[in-house]
Symmetry: C2
Subunit: 463 residues, 2 copies
């Protein structure tokens, strides 16, 4: 948790922004409840709502808060513990002292929020709230504000603040990236023919749990990188494959890291693997070199798409005018996802608030094209943005066959040669990047080995 | 997943039981959805609903099934994947082949369940369903069966089946206990003065993730064992403390283990620690020796309470007639929880179906007393029951002070002497036990060291 002043300042800024946007009434925040895995008393690991953490810092279930845009009054709704709670959960600070820790003047029992909201609505005052991120919050908001809808002015105000990371946040993300670096190094050193993928996952997550909150999202570790979000880990590691490891740590302060590397399972790339790998590596480096205030990340995405098609042209997998291919979305056949996303308290920062309101400037509209249409962060870059740089090339037989069947890209795509890549898998290379005043800085203590030679050297050193 | 015949047989048995209980209409099962941790696309590790796993085996989100009690017809409601799913999740078997794998005749799209249920209700047919275990299922059932309530006949039929473990289930639980044994051994060997508790948790969970689904519940690892469910792990390990480790592994087949051991942080018990530890150890052994078909676990709980009070009498912490103290619930001041619970696909098996319907015979009523009132499994034991044996002694200052203030137990409790134990912490010792035809068997390959001498020897061996 940060100092009290941080939370006081953030909430004051939020209310100021709401007033400047011509809004009045109340702002309602609902913190998370525990999420049952099997039943009410056996829950997943506790995780607070990220916007709640940002404005209130209190890392406990069943809290709500109401901020009065007009008067500036702030109330925390939460329950003090009783003797049963003490037996099971231990002695706890009072709600009053929790409120003091983050500068909230008023407190009331958790149940009181219902009446507070009902009274305000009865007198015609607007109640602004964010979209719910979990099923509990959906239920709770339906109960508190029946028929209500999330407030776009509030979403916009919150996004404008959380998008630009403060110095204390950048330090926290650097720390999460340091853990992520360590976790990825453990994973790389553990790759061994004949073991089950799950064994590496266990070693990786040990790092995340021993020093942080855990992983920032379910670990992707697969020899089928062409499946973008593969969460199964039952396969045996086989020679000749490429292993995609896309994983991050959430620090104890709840900031995320998110790195991806792709390794040849035997420690050395084949010529064919190295050719594709080098293209992805070049794309990653190009994106970083272009990242600076004033350029849109949409432009960076498209520059990467061009670079990728250039590399694939040299391998005779596509042919034709590069700009035309970019315009027609041919790169989406190989990289059906966007170049990156915002990162912060959430690994896809604020995705619960709506991808377009978070990742797109008011003058930008989202493309429909495969690949570009999945770009989660398209905005004009500003100092303080924290984004991922994660190009990838995948050979997805089902997707290629679909393109072919639908007659797409026949002028550009060498479908005959692509068949040689049906068992290739996929490659993705991801760094986390801070936009600075003058350019960009990769987050974390050092960059994970990424050039093909460096990767082979690192893998050889562990053997 | 087990063989198709297992699921076919279980469902047939269920419908037979419903008919024998005079029921008709439909039985509706709703499988789980992914549970968002932060937002829709960043979810906690996938976990299927346990009753769904028991009857349908299919370990995937967004499935429902309807069984017709009257005709015996069975329908699986689930969606086949589209090209977007293939890009993100990889090629998947068809719904048809999934249904075949568990012997379900009919299939329909997931959304079709709404119409199927609406039609049945319109024609006045009862729709039986289980209590929802998660918020998603609460929302889904409210949508499918508005105004409906969980079916007690269905709960009773399901409980009667899941309570008595089949041989294949016992093998699966033995395997989970083998992983639990390994995880606890790693934990014991990692205890070291000066490290943060979290570091041990990381090492432990690595075992659970490398070889199983993960932990079967959030790990309890604390030098404040007097807090029964303490999930914080930020404390530094200090000399002279007792560390309670209550943790289990869920196997890849989703069966749980659940062991607790308590260790002196320096590897040797003080005289004072050893005295209390020995009482708890004796209670654990007594419970196991009494466990056999025909006795109720309520009786075993009370025999353990008597043994505990006997030991505490010898230390002059309580005094008076043992039977009178048992009757007055004095043991609850030291062990404010029950002796154990059912275990299976859930670590507290079927707790979502209602503790009393699961853990109490129809002729048993639940006590209000502290300790006994928390007993989750009171039933008359039968071969095939899998239960935990987990006595504990805790010195909870807030609870002792409350008893004293309310004038409780003054004839029996030596409050003056108890003050010497306010910084003692707590001790819990837990094994997992199968009720056999003739008695009981501890589950897992071997028993974790439990006698004070064996614990000290095991800790010395690791140093």
């Amino acid at each position: 948790m940060f100092a009290k002043e941080v939370y006081v300042r953030r909430r004051q800024t939020l209310l100021k922004k709401m007033r400047e946007a011509g809004q009045n009434g109340l702002v309602l925040f609902v913190g998370n409840a525990e999420a049952p895995a099997q039943y009410k008393d056996n829950c997943y690991k506790w995780r607070q709502d990220s916007s709640w953490l940002y404005y209130f810092g209190l890392d406990e279930p069943l809290m709500a808060a109401v901020l009065d845009i007009d008067s500036g009054a702030e109330t925390l709704f939460a329950d003090d513990v009783d003797i049963d709670d003490i037996i099971w959960m231990g002695p706890q600070p009072s709600v009053r002292s929790k409120a003091d820790a983050v500068g909230l003047e008023h407190t009331a029992p958790y149940g009181g929020v219902e009446n507070a909201i009902a009274l305000a609505r009865k007198s015609g005052r607007p109640v602004h709230f964010l979209p719910p991120s979990r099923y509990y919050n959906t239920l709770k908001l339906a109960q508190l504000v029946p028929g209500g809808a999330p407030s776009e002015p509030l979403i916009k105000a919150v996004v404008s603040m959380r998008l630009i990371k403060e110095d204390i946040e950048i330090q926290a993300i650097d720390a999460a990236c340091a853990l992520g670096y360590e976790m990825h190094s453990v994973a790389r050193d553990a790759i061994k023919i004949g073991i089950i993928e799950q064994e590496i996952v266990g070693k990786m997550e040990a790092v995340s749990l021993a020093k942080g909150w855990g992983v920032s999202f379910p670990t992707i570790l697969t020899q089928h990188g062409e499946t973008l979000h593969n969460h199964g880990h039952a396969a045996t590691i086989e020679p000749g494959k490429l292993m995609v490891i896309d994983a991050g740590v959430e620090s104890n302060e709840h900031y995320a890291s998110d790195f991806t590397r792709t390794y040849p399972t035997i420690g050395r790339f084949t010529q064919k693997q190295r050719e594709i790998y080098q293209i992805v590596c070049d794309c990653n480096n190009l994106a970083f070199s272009l990242t600076k205030p004033g350029i849109t990340y949409r432009e960076v995405h498209l520059a990467v798409a061009r670079k990728m098609l250039e590399g694939l042209s040299a391998l005779d997998l596509v042919k034709g005018d590069l700009d035309e291919m970019v315009a027609k979305g041919i790169a989406g056949l190989f990289q059906p996802h966007g170049l990156g996303h915002n990162m912060g308290l959430d690994v896809h920062d604020m995705e619960d608030l709506g991808e377009n309101l978070v990742g797109y400037d008011p003058d930008q509209t989202r493309a429909k094209q495969l690949g570009l249409g999945s770009l989660r962060m398209a905005r004009c870059l500003k100092p303080g943005h924290v984004i991922t740089d994660e190009p990838g090339i995948y050979f997805i037989p089902a997707l290629i066959e679909k393109f072919k069947k639908e007659g797409l890209g026949f002028d550009f795509v060498n479908y005959a040669k692509l068949e040689d890549y049906y068992d290739f898998g996929g490659i993705r290379l991801e760094d986390d990047v801070l936009v600075t005043e003058t350019g960009a800085r990769r987050l974390g203590p050092q960059r994970l080995p990424i050039s093909p030679d460096d990767v082979e050297a690192a893998m050889a050193a562990a053997r």
